[in-house]
């Protein structure tokens, strides 16, 4: 379900609750729902992660392919995003139904992640102007229960963390032609620095307050929301207003401040968790969808 229908009485109930900093599920205004993260769930990708946030479920797979760098930036690789709003999430997405939402999300992801401040794109370069790694980041929405942006960004960060790109050796033959050789050893791989990769925090304006990680019901009560991408240092890298309503400048400022605070607090446990999972090693069996 991508949207929920809420009656007037329910709206009043949700609004009054939020005014008192107590939401329908017992959370405060700046609390996230229970989040589960697992990396390396799809074995034929170079990196993957599955994130569930409440009932929202997102699966991200990253495949690295060798491509040609963009002519304007010959010494950098790049990322390609594709968001698949599958019919699994809601029957409305059947056929071409999910394309609009998919494009909207993927355009935001390009703005947030595909720049050298978020990901070290220079490390993806193989030989300037000729070859570079292209990371195809494919997002699969399996269930929608509000706050798709935050769940997607966390999943992408986790998937980037787990991405292992094979090392390449360039050898030149006698005539000056270059040959790319992939390393035979599957453990001889390059990792991506994810320290500066931002996470998205969506703040929904409900009544006079704003909430983090809104459920579908809360989203139905809100006039508009603000998407803020924040790095681990609390630097805001991108903001966007989404939704039909309007926001006054005062509240935009307040929401940005709250977003910075929440985003900063989100990064530390996320990195800790990812490193902990990494330290468990390959021997621990993956739970995936069986758990």
């Amino acid at each position: 379900m991508a949207t929920a229908q809420v009656s007037e009485a329910e709206k009043v109930y949700i609004l009054h609750g939020i005014r008192e900093d107590l939401r329908v599920d017992g959370r405060g205004c700046e609390d996230y729902r229970h989040m589960e993260i697992e990396t390396d769930v799809v074995s034929n990708t170079d990196g993957s992660a599955k994130v569930t946030l409440g009932h929202t479920a997102v699966l991200v797979g990253i495949k690295a392919e060798i491509g040609k760098p963009r002519p304007m930036i010959p010494n950098e690789g790049y990322l390609e995003f594709f968001v698949d709003c599958s019919a699994n999430a809601t029957p409305e997405f059947e056929g071409r139904g999910g394309e609009e939402l998919g494009t909207e999300i993927s355009n935001t992801l390009y703005k947030v992640f595909n720049n050298k401040h978020s990901v070290d794109l220079q490390s993806l370069c193989i030989s300037p102007g000729e070859h570079c790694w292209v990371l195809y980041v494919d997002v699969l929405l399996l269930q929608c229960d509000g706050n798709l942006y935050d769940a997607t960004s966390v999943a992408i960060k986790a998937a980037l963390f787990s991405t292992k790109i094979p090392r390449v050796h360039i050898s030149t033959d006698d005539e000056g032609g270059k040959e790319i050789e992939l390393s035979d050893d599957p453990y001889d791989c390059m990792r991506i620095q994810v320290e500066n990769v931002p996470c998205i925090v969506t703040l929904c304006k409900v009544g006079h307050r704003h909430v983090v990680d809104a459920t579908l019901q809360e989203k139905a009560c809100s006039v508009a929301s603000l998407i803020i991408s924040v790095t681990h240092k609390g630097t805001v890298t991108c903001t966007r207003k989404v939704g039909g309503g309007s926001l006054d400048p005062e509240s935009v400022f307040e929401m940005t401040e709250a977003g910075k605070r929440v985003g900063k607090a989100l990064h530390a446990p996320l990195m800790k968790l990812l490193q902990h999972e990494e330290s468990l090693g390959r021997k621990t069996p993956k739970v995936g969808f069986l758990g």
Binding site: V42, N44, G61, K63, N88, T90, E94, D138, F289, L290
Partner: protein
Amino acid sequence: MAGLELLSDQGYRLDGRKATELRKVQARMGVFAQADGSAYLEQGNTRALAVVYGPHEMRGSRSRTLHDRAAINCQYSMATFSTAERKRRPHGDRKSTEMSLHLKQTFEAAIMTQLYPRSQIDIYVKILQSDGGNYSVCVNAATLAVIDAGIPMRDYVCACSVGFVDETPLADLCYAEESVSSLSVALLPRGGQIALLQMDARLHQDHLEALMEAAMTACKGVSKVLDEVVRQHLQEAAVLNVCP
């Protein structure tokens, strides 16, 4: 054969299985809370998610309404990262459309559609990782999802693919074996009825019977596993209901 020994002299296959051995099947029902029924199934390295919505009122064009039974609507799609080579789009290509149609036919034969006239049942399957036998894994996952949704069926539908190498039928093909020859069968095991039969390669008529026999045995093997998953799930659900 392109230098690939699919069946060794000792009778072992590429992944170390015997000719009639199935891959490891693991499944879970009720993966998602929002759908009416859902299931996740992995068979070796092939993984699929199935979700069922319905029976509900007809959506979209009412002209598809059937007055004596429910209409079944299937969509098969593959995650863009599911194959070794990245796919450009998850569904809508010719192969996916064909697969959707096959699934629809299979489940029309199995679901008791006459109980829900003028309504619609949606079955959506997604391949998350593909390593051969996509059709059969989808059918098996969808069966569990339909059961999870509480929709009455005549029987489990169990599917399996079989191939023929060196005069020996091989059960449950993986991707490398699928390239040679493959026969997909969907079976309603209790009555031994065949819901779908599809053959993509050339085969001598004399071998067909042996191949069919192998396919039916494999399907019955799958049905045992599925039955166990369903019983396990019901037991867990019952325990949860008694002491919440």
